[in-house]
């Protein structure tokens, strides 16, 4: 879902750079307060995991009905996952690091589009993940269902936003209405979102099993004596 160079008009990428820049500055300030000795390695490792996982494109709809999008692939976004496990602030810092390195070292995503890409794959899904994490205390089938749905919705919302940004940049062809463009983009990303949800639930389960006391939102419960550190 990385927007490449040359697809956004200057007012659009400028606006998104300002929005994401402000969000990143706020996140860095909050991260300074939130980071403790045990959260630092988890943040680093989860950021590296998202980078590695984004390299694994899974096939979507290959060989599906003619006329419908076939031969497409998708990969984990990971913003929602980091929002759940690290919280919005640390999640946004980690996602921004992933996207900056992808753009500058791996030529994935335009440099001027970094603000937009950090927003659609970082700021928005990270905040959504943090909000969803706040809905439950103890992991249950219900919390995992909500996590699955949240991750999928995060992908769809990000995809919708990308089309809106392209529309604002007058990059959608005249022959296509905004609704049609959204229809194509969201139907492809619905499938990607389902995989995103499945991977997110699996990783959240794993990290809760291994490092529950460091996961976002658990720290307060630890000091309240509700969860053993």
């Amino acid at each position: 879902m990385h927007i490449a160079s040359g697809f956004l008009s200057p007012p659009v990428w400028g606006t998104m750079a300002a929005v994401s820049g402000a969000a990143l500055a706020g996140s860095l300030a909050a991260a300074r307060r939130q980071l403790d000795d045990r959260k630092v390695p988890l943040m680093g490792v989860m950021g590296a995991f998202v980078f590695a996982a984004q390299m694994v494109n899974f096939p979507i709809l290959s060989g599906f009905l003619a006329g419908l999008p076939i031969g497409t692939s998708g990969h984990l976004g990971g913003g929602f996952l980091l929002g759940v496990l690290l919280g919005p602030a640390l999640g946004i810092v980690a996602m921004a690091s992933v996207l900056v390195i992808q753009a500058l070292v791996f030529q994935d995503g335009g440099v001027e589009a970094l603000g937009a890409n950090i927003f659609t794959m970082g700021v928005f899904p990270c905040i959504l993940g943090g909000v969803v994490r706040g809905l439950w205390r103890k992991p249950s089938w219900l919390s995992y269902t909500v996590t699955f749905a949240g991750a999928a919705i995060g992908v769809l919302a990000g995809a919708t936003l990308v089309i809106l940004l392209l529309d604002w940049s007058v990059m959608l062809p005249q022959s296509v209405s905004l609704l049609q463009a959204l229809g194509v983009m969201d139907s492809v990303h619905l499938f990607i979102g389902l995989v995103e949800g499945a991977i997110t639930v699996a990783v959240v389960r794993f990290v809760l099993g291994a490092r529950r006391e460091v996961v976002f939102g658990t720290t307060q419960l630890v000091s309240a004596g509700e969860v053993k550190a």
């Binding site: 160079s5 956004l8 200057p10 390695p41 680093g44 490792v45 950021g47 463009a181």
Partner: protein, 107 residues
Amino acid sequence: MSPYNRNTLLVGILVVVVIGGVLSYFASGDPDGLEKTQEILGAAEPVHTGVEPPPSVFEGYSLKCLGEGFWGNAVAGVVGSLFVLGGLLVVARILKRRPSRQDPEKV
């Protein structure tokens, strides 16, 4: 470093090396959701003046001198992941260099 943090890092690096270094080799080469959408809509050509990413030996997630094969991909995946990990550890170190004034525990 505490054994707790050392284990977090070791397990994390192991997982990342397997995913970025090995599993990613088997990734689908089909266009991603956005590229496919742009292809279907007929909007695949950039028209605005952009800032192209700087030239890199890791273009296309493969170390140039090793080619597009398994090892070029493996080095790119592992190095990229470790860049992110190292970058975040450096950012955390800088952020925590001076205790925050708003942090009651550190005042």
